[in-house]
Structures are given as structure tokens and as C-alpha cells.
Symmetry: C2
Amino acid sequence: MFQNVARPRGRPRSFDESDALKKATQVFWSKGYDGVTIDDLVAVMGLGRSSLYGIFGDKRTLFLRVLRAYAEAKGARAAKALFSPPALRDSLAGFLRHAVEAATEEGSAPGCLMVCVAPLVDDPEVKQFLKDAAAAGLALVERRFRDGISAGEIPSDFPVTARARQVLDLARGLTMHAQMGASRKTLLNDAEEAADLVLLPRRGNAAPDV
Amino acid sequence: MFQNVARPRGRPRSFDESDALKKATQVFWSKGYDGVTIDDLVAVMGLGRSSLYGIFGDKRTLFLRVLRAYAEAKGARAAKALFSPPALRDSLAGFLRHAVEAATEEGSAPGCLMVCVAPLVDDPEVKQFLKDAAAAGLALVERRFRDGISAGEIPSDFPVTARARQVLDLARGLTMHAQMGASRKTLLNDAEEAADLVLLPRRGNAAPDV
DNA sequence: GACATTCTGGAACATTTAGTCCGAAACTCC
DNA sequence: GGAGTTTCGGACTAAATGTTCCAGAATGTC
């Protein structure tokens, strides 16, 4: 038989840790950092105050943990959107579409924890984390462009870094637009157009044969 | 002689109203809505609590007033950036440059009250105001594109609305990027490139002779 | 100079908030 | 079954926060 997974000693927890983290994510996401009270968290996460403090630490620590988990999941999905489709254009459209869909998910608040909420948190650790995450996102898109050059989809003098930065700016802009109440349908349309735009050849260069 | 400007009765104020509003703007801008306490405002605005409540109303009312004043000023500057330069390309670059400069002003917090702070305020009046402001911004850029069509700078089938939306998305993205700590120099560079990008002809269309 | 009016400074208040503490509960190990 | 360990639930505390109140000060009006 299988050995039972070693149950820790003591009284078992009455809640699921990762589930509670997801709930906490939603709370921060919809109310911002300063707008969230411990009581909000306790009410939604399904545990008592002492458990919250005992297991997750204080508000700031919990937020950092939530942020890291969120960033990891988002990064993985972004990478998948970028590197699964064979055609570069579909990669970019998928990347932007994913940003829009995440920002307009029903059942979640509009916007994005990393783009709309975290930048307002006055904490050096959060700020550094965001910088690193932004750099990682940029590197991802740049890599996809370089793959596109190798595959002959775009010319070798394609302005990789500049366009990658624009892709991220567009994604951030779409996300903020979602937070401000734009509809998913509209934003998805914008995302498609943005994907086309970014791939346009520079003025004076010949269009690539696709 | 000139008639004295009718001084109101009663004890005169010990502070300048519009100056106090500007100070309040900075406070909300840098700390977000929930992050600001009345004590913060009192300390910076140079008046007492009672004066604050008596003259500006409660926190929410004050924020709305700050937001409206901020939006008006920003709108005026955006319109100037858009409609002063004769060349469309310079208009767009100026518009985006202005967004970047406002978001990276020294002495102010990075980012933008309307783009980064207000969307997180949980208040229907604020949300509606933001929607209206976004629509107004879009209309402004669309108008500038139409002027460009009239002047023959871009073809008559230029996708005015789609590109205008992209301009605003890029501006929002650059602003959020500023909030996340990107340098003014980098962002100004991105703004210039974005202006060029948005004016590229659609694939398959002839480039306009400029 | 008396009065009405408007603002000021600070005290006062009720509520909310982050964080702590402790006895009781639920489990494992022996 | 008892000892040891971990979590639970809720009471508790100290500080903070938004808002109100009031006596007094500084001005115009008559």
C-alpha cells in the first residue's frame, strides 16, 4: 500500500492554504493594498485572525506572498501564450489577448494585481519585485521576436527591443483600460489590432513575405 | 481708483485655496486614496482640520474636486500638445512625451493621478468620471487624426479609431511603466518610437508621401 | 463700539484597525 | 490513555482614523 503522506502533528488546519491564498489575491486585487483590512482577509480566506498571523505573517508579508504567486502564474501563462503558437503574429495576439482576458475575468475585479495594484504599494521590496518582473516580461517578448527572426518571419533588422517595449506598454495600457471599465469585447478587438500594428515593417523597409 | 475686490465678510483665510488643492493633489497622487489620512492632508495643505472639513467637505468630496481639477489641467495640456504642432507626427510624439513627462516629473510622485490612482477608488462617481475622461481623450486624438487626413498627411482610409485607441493605450502603458520606476530618458525614447509606430501605413497600403 | 459672519486651533468622539494573547480543541506519537 | 504539538476562536489592547464640536480670533457692516 501507499504510505500515508506524513500528516504533521497537532491539530489539522481547517482550510486549504493555497485556496486561502487565492482568496486573498482576489481581495487585494479588488480593493488595493491600503483598502484591505485584516477583517476583509479573515472573512474571505476562511480562517481566524490568529491563524492568519500564525501562518502567513502580517499584512505586508501576506501581500508579498500573494504577489509572488500571482506573478509566477501570470508569467507562466504569458510564456505559454507567446511560445505555443508557431506564427509570431499569433503569439503576440495571444499575449495581448491573455492580458485582456485576465483583466476582464468575470468573478475577479477588473485590472491586474501587478499592473494596477502593486505599483501603488509603498514598499521597496514590492517595487524591486515589480522592476524585476517587468524586465523578465520584456525579455520574454524579445526572445519571441528573435525566434521570429530565426524563422524568417520578420527581417533581421527588426527593432526587437523597441517593439517588445511597445508590446508591454500596450498590454499595460489595455489592462488599465479594463480597470477603468472598458468591455472585454472592445479590448479584445484592440488587442488584435495592436498585434498587427507591432509587426508592421519600418517605413522604407520592404514588407516581409509571410 | 479701483474698487477693491469685494472681500468676503468674516475672518480671512490663512491659506490659498488653489494652492492647498495642489498640495492635496500631490498627497493623493503619491499615496493613493486609501493611503491618505486626514492628518496627511492637514499637514501638507497648511490648514486645520475644521477648515478642511468646512471648506472642502469630507475626504471623498475633496478627492473628487482634486480629480476634476487635475483632469481639466491635464486635458488642456494634452490638447495643446496635440493641436499646436503642424505635423501629425509631432503632435503624437508631443502627446506621448507629455504623458511621460507628467509621469516622471521631479518633485511629484511617479505615475498619474488619473491613470494609476483613481481607478482603484471604489466609488461610482469616480468610475463614471474616469470613463468620461477616457472618452474625451479618445475623441481628442481621433480629431487630430482626422485633421491629419484633411491635411493629406495620412490616407483617408487611415484606421482613425483603432489607432487612436492604441495611442491612449500606449500613453497609459508608459505612465504605468513610469510608476513602476522606469527612467524618464527611457520612456521618452519609447514615446518617440511609439509615435512613429502608430503612423505606419497598414500592410498592403502604399506609404504616404510626406 | 456692538454685531454678524467667517475662519482657526484644538479638544473630543466614535469607529476602525493591526496585532497579541490564551484557553480550548484536534490531532500524532508513545 | 497521556504527553506533546499545532491550530482555532474569540476576547483584548493600543493606536489610528474620519468626523464633529466649540470657544475664540479676525474681519466687514452699521
